[in-house]
Symmetry: C2
Subunit: 104 residues, 2 copies
């Protein structure tokens, strides 16, 4: 609980372009405020790869001579992104109702 927020954030980040591990970590911490550790992100990436949601390939990008492992969104990942977005919206409206409204 709530299982899936990290996964959802990852899929969102990969939607526009490929990212490598530490880059994903930085964006999660800066944008989503999730305060993820690298000991969390790499196992997550491996799980998402095993599940067939993302694909990984080593690249040497731009000015960097150092190879980095880039992750891209696969079709199954895009479908999962849609499903998880819907789940998120559902949870969001329900939790908002619980928080904002006076409950029984």
């Amino acid at each position: 609980m709530i299982k899936g927020v990290l996964e959802l954030a990852l899929l969102c980040i990969l939607r526009k372009r490929a990212h490598y591990g530490l880059e994903i970590l930085q964006r999660m911490n800066e944008e989503s405020g999730l305060e993820v550790a690298d000991g969390t992100i790499y196992p997550l990436l491996h799980r998402m790869e095993s599940a067939g949601f993302v694909a990984a390939d080593w690249r040497i990008e731009g000015d960097q001579g150092r190879p980095r492992k880039y992750y891209t969104l696969k079709p199954r990942g895009a479908a999962e992104l849609k499903a998880m977005s819907d789940d998120w919206r559902d949870l969001r409206s329900r939790m908002d109702a619980l928080i904002e409204k006076g409950t029984r």
Copy 2:
């Protein structure tokens, strides 16, 4: 991650009046759509009690001759509710931004 949604839902439910375990379970499933099992709710209640957020007392309420364990919100629980509500709103806006907006 995201730890705290169940806790938040519980504190919200207890805000207006005392509830007993199964009642909390039913309201979570109906209203929050969280699909919680009773093997989840009782340990949760015990944790929240140990943490000093809620108090428990056995009561025979209304028409029922069967005693039920009622949980009430303690001051520390109310403070926690406020803190978790703020956290929730923060996470919500950040995740919405990630989902809705085109990200880098």
